[in-house]
């Protein structure tokens, strides 16, 4: 069986009921999001958020955009491993990874629309007349928008397959290699730039976090987060749908994640040492406590995945969770906690901001569930059902 090339045609919709108590709860959360956004568009950003001129960026940027897209890195990391490094055997996880990424990026894009004050003029970013090439945000905005389109194209075969459009599918397949390549380049660019965005904030970002290494730190941790997201999604899907776990593949991905996390810590501590900031991390204040929690979370997967035991599903799942949370916390800390614009300014997300962020996550999960039930995303379960998935797909 192993000699047969695994193709995407072996994927199939899993079918089943879309509406369950769980998806109903998700739908309610999405409705709440719509209500809050209604208020935001009628009465302004201040009506539903705690944003102020000291903290003009809050949860919607730090979580929905910066973290949402980083978790969406599952798409490019898996595409990279599968098509660029030629590990064809990763095929069974490509489609769900792309789907996770597509939802992550679509939600990041959506959240920008309601966070930006003058959303009706957002097209300015794409007009040479307005483009400001020195702006890191310009690069991020254009790059994320372009990548979202590329993700749609990468995912398009699934839709074409669903509707039996074989001719179009064949044509697309010929060009797909280019979209895969650009689909790796673009996230490399904007995920590092999401770190670079903080550099212009200068002394407003605490020196522990303010560094020229920000783009490297963000890029490396993003790849880790993407791999972690695939592992979590794969494990939860297997558990919830009682499907065989892609144990070997996920364990291998997490091995890569382990290396990346080690690189992250190495770069971070070397950078702190070079900049003479090591004494600062031993001061006792909120930010340093968070710094050490991050460090512990980044170190956990390194320890957990050491040796043979690292391939145990329980171990690599915990390692993936730790890796993802570490990346999330690092971003929240860098964007919100390490940012201090002067005395007298405070920010904590409002109820409205939380409802929107939770609603977006709910929308992503709901979308994912509907998609795998309706579209050929997950590997087909047929006569090979009882066989270990890793050998046949």
């Amino acid at each position: 069986m192993t000699t047969k090339a695994a193709t995407h045609d072996e994927a199939a919709p899993i079918g089943g009921r879309i509406w369950t108590p769980f998806t109903a709860v998700l739908a309610v959360l999405v409705i709440l999001l719509v209500v809050v956004l209604g208020v935001r568009f009628v009465r302004g950003i201040g009506a539903v958020t705690n944003l102020n001129d000291g903290y003009p960026w809050g949860l919607w940027i730090a979580w929905d955009v910066v973290i949402g897209s980083a978790l969406g890195a599952s798409g490019f990391t898996v595409a990279f491993t599968t098509y660029i490094l030629n590990r064809g055997k990763y095929h069974p996880i490509v489609r769900p990874a792309l789907l996770t990424a597509l939802f992550g990026y679509a939600m990041a894009g959506a959240s920008v629309v309601f966070d930006v004050g003058r959303y009706w003029d957002m097209w300015h970013v794409f007009m040479p007349r307005y483009a400001q090439l020195n702006s890191v945000l310009f690069e991020v905005a254009v790059c994320i928008a372009a990548y979202t389109v590329v993700l749609f194209i990468e995912f398009l075969p699934v839709v074409l397959e669903k509707f039996g459009m074989a001719k179009a599918h064949q044509k697309l397949d010929k060009a797909l290699f280019f979209f895969i390549a650009i689909g790796v380049l673009l996230p490399t660019m904007h995920q590092s730039s999401l770190g670079s965005m903080l550099i212009v904030f200068g002394p407003q970002i605490d020196p522990i976090y303010q560094t020229k290494a920000l783009p490297v730190l963000f890029l490396v941790s993003t790849i880790g987060m993407g791999l972690a997201a695939v592992t979590i999604e794969g494990s939860v899907t297997a558990l919830a749908l009682r499907r065989p776990l892609e144990r070997e593949l996920l364990a291998k991905l997490m091995k890569v994640g382990q290396g990346l996390t080690a690189i992250f810590l190495l770069v971070r501590f070397t950078d702190l040492a070079v900049r003479g900031q090591l004494p600062a991390i031993f001061e006792i204040r909120t930010l340093t406590i968070l710094f050490w929690i991050e460090t512990a979370l980044f170190a956990t997967p390194i320890v957990l995945l050491l040796g043979k035991g690292g391939t145990q599903p329980r171990r690599f799942f915990i390692a993936a969770m730790s890796m993802a949370i570490a990346g999330i916390l690092y971003r929240l800390d860098a964007y919100l906690v390490a940012y201090d614009t002067g005395a007298g300014w405070h920010y904590f997300p409002s109820m409205g901001e939380l409802v929107v962020t939770i609603g977006l996550v709910a929308a992503e999960i709901l979308g994912f569930i509907i998609a795998i039930r309706v579209l050929p995303v997950l590997p087909k379960m047929g006569r090979t059902r009882t066989a270990p998935a890793t050998e046949t797909h």
Binding site: S192, V200, A343
Partner: protein, 336 residues
């Protein structure tokens, strides 16, 4: 034949350029003051706290009144800080009995908060759509609401916390002082300086303002002197005692210098004007971006490598050269 090892090497090279560039980034040349740069000199020792500049600024720029606990009822404009409705404000420092002007102990002092018109502004570097621009001639940092998308990157980036946003409306915009550039064609100048009764806020070319600072610093504190009033080089003057200044001129070197300069009788730290690095964060940020995206050479090189690899691994099986790979890699994958 291209082996996998070679390919990986090439790939690592491409990725290496992308990652290494930020670390080796050379600083882009620091921006310099335009020859005809216009600015303000605020001398805290001359300010009497009359707040006429706040009213004049509001009128000239068509800004709405702001009602706070400072006013009695909603009758008088009483801003406590700059905001989406207020571009300029005078703030007071007070200590102990608050009796002696420009004394840190048991004294009081005034300071002005408004856009500093940086030589190398963070807001201009941050703005993705060129809504914030620096006039190449006057150096005035301008804002165009027609270009603005309301992302507030400028608000977050400014170390002086100057650009402000209107959060209370569905049609928001950024507010900041533009040195009354709209009044220049009428032969007028910054309204705050025009109405200042003591010449505490003085308008003029930055070169001249700097000379005036030198002149004031050379005087013996307490001796009577003649101050220019309104704009520098005019005929309007004001007689007063020479100030006793702290050594620092705020704005001289802060993030590469600003076109609004402050003199003070008390430490700037007490006036909520903290020390800032002399290097502009904008120049660090832009150096890094330019190093990585230098004519898109690194990204395009990386893309080329990726495309070759993806093409090799995804093309139909029949075209693939005889298998030179171990059986474990036989499932070459890719599209049918």
């Amino acid at each position: 034949m291209l082996t996998r090892r070679k390919l990986l090497k090439g790939l690592a090279g491409g990725a290496g350029v992308l990652v290494a560039a930020p670390i080796t980034a050379e600083a882009r040349a620091a921006k310099t003051l335009p020859d005809k740069a216009l600015g303000l000199l605020f001398d805290g020792t001359l300010c009497i706290g009359c707040r006429a500049c706040i009213a004049a600024c509001k009128e000239s720029n068509g800004m709405p009144p702001e009602f706070t606990e400072l006013g009695i009822g909603d009758y008088w404009d009483s801003p406590l800080d700059i905001s989406g409705k207020t571009l300029n404000v005078i703030k007071a420092y007070r200590d102990g009995t608050g009796l002696n002007k420009d004394q840190e102990k048991d004294g009081f002092a005034f300071t002005k908060v408004s856009c500093m018109h940086c030589v190398d502004p963070s807001c201009v570097s941050a703005c993705p759509v060129s809504a914030m621009t620096k006039d190449p001639e006057t150096g005035i940092v301008r804002y165009s609401v027609d270009a603005c998308i309301g992302c507030r990157y400028c608000v977050a980036a400014c170390p002086f916390n100057v650009p402000r946003f209107t959060y209370d409306t569905p049609i928001p915009k950024i507010s900041k002082c533009q040195l009354c550039q709209h009044r220049l064609p009428e032969g007028k100048y910054a309204a705050c300086a025009e109405v200042c009764p003591t010449g505490a806020t003085l308008y003029g070319p930055v070169i001249d303002l700097k000379k005036e600072i030198e002149r004031r610093r050379a005087l013996t504190p307490g001796t009577q002197t003649t101050y220019p009033r309104g704009k520098i080089g005019g005929t309007d003057t004001y007689q007063g005692p020479a100030g006793h200044y702290v050594a620092r001129t705020y704005g001289e070197t802060e993030i590469g210098g600003t076109q609004v300069l402050h003199l003070s009788g008390v430490s700037f730290d007490l006036l909520n004007k903290p020390p800032l690095p002399t290097v502009a964060p904008a120049s660090i940020s832009e150096s890094l971006q330019h190093a990585v995206y230098n004519n898109l050479i690194a990204p395009l090189g990386f893309l080329g490598t990726l495309a070759v690899l993806a093409w090799r691994h995804m093309r139909p099986k029949a075209e693939v050269a005889p298998p030179a790979k171990p059986p474990t890699d036989a499932d070459d994958g890719g599209a049918p």
